[in-house]
């Protein structure tokens, strides 16, 4: 039985894309678009800008195909590009305030209020704390992967995550034991 290995497939697609196979790059887009879009929305706070950041992420990845050295996984490499693009977006639009997620996430039912409060609370975190919290809680990335994606030491991930959780717990205490 053939073992399915997404990472090996990612690297193969990346290699073929580097050799000029545009279909391979589109396949890579299909594989990672949803995950990266979800991450972009969590980092940016609104769907329209998240889509722009997602597009810039894949364009950046395409232009930097040769820069992929294989030290990190393709998933981590793409995440890193997206985090950098989100940082660029923040610098470009520093005047804008974080917009709560309203147009991209349908909040309904009895927990709708809690969901909106969660999104608003995440949006109020500093970018550094938000990045590390989203990568851990939503993307389930390991500390090592987060450290690679953010280009910071593992110890920094631990301390930022701890502070992010403390801050978030304070903001969401109405929903916690």
């Amino acid at each position: 039985m053939v073992q399915y290995n997404p990472e090996a497939d990612d690297i193969e697609l990346l290699r073929r894309a580097g050799d000029g196979d545009s279909a391979a790059f589109h396949a890579l887009v299909d594989r990672h678009a949803q995950r990266l879009y979800r991450l972009a929305v969590s980092l940016i706070g609104n769907a329209a800008d998240a889509e722009d950041v997602l597009q810039e992420t894949f364009i950046g990845a395409f232009r930097g195909l040769r820069s992929f050295e294989g030290r990190a996984s393709v998933k981590t490499w793409l995440t890193r590009i997206l985090v950098m693009q989100a940082g660029q977006w923040r610098r470009d639009r520093r005047r804008r305030r974080f917009a709560p997620l309203g147009d991209s996430i349908a909040a309904s039912g009895p927990s709708a209020g809690a969901n909106l409060d969660v999104q608003a609370a995440i949006g109020q975190l500093s970018p550094e704390h938000r990045e590390v919290l989203v990568l851990r809680e939503f993307e389930r990335m390991s500390y090592e992967e987060i450290a690679e994606a953010l280009d910071v030491p593992r110890g920094t991930v631990e301390s930022r995550l701890h502070r992010a959780r403390s801050e978030l717990r304070e903001k969401l205490k109405a929903y916690l034991p």
Partner: protein, 151 residues
Amino acid sequence: MNCPTSEQLSAFHDGELDEVRRVEIEGHLRQCPLCAAELERLQAMSRLLGAAPTARLLPIGLHRLHRRVDQAMEEGFLRFVRVLNTIAACVLIAGSAWLMAKTREDQTVESPMPAVPPWVGVDVVSDSPSGATSTPAAAWYLAEDSSRGDD
């Protein structure tokens, strides 16, 4: 053992501790209600975050993404062609300049233009009935022409 730090408890919650440390903290949690309550709060927050709805890229958004990637690929190709064109133009200009310089050099050093044409000073007998004297060059052409006529 003493109570673990909040960071250690956070790492325990995330499954990021080594085996030895993990077993230590597990033992401590059975005896310490404060740390057990702290861990419960961490778990509750993860559950709360996990229950939040997630954004989904709509098919039209995915289509826009693919189209934008295609544009970028096209731009990359056109940029490559422009670079090739620039290199080709540079090579052409440099080659032309070199050829011109070389031709000029050959003309001045190796085969200077004679100041006087070779036929100057050669006596040519005119065969025209009128006996008019033509130029040496004209005489040469006439001779060539008549020899072709004899064939």
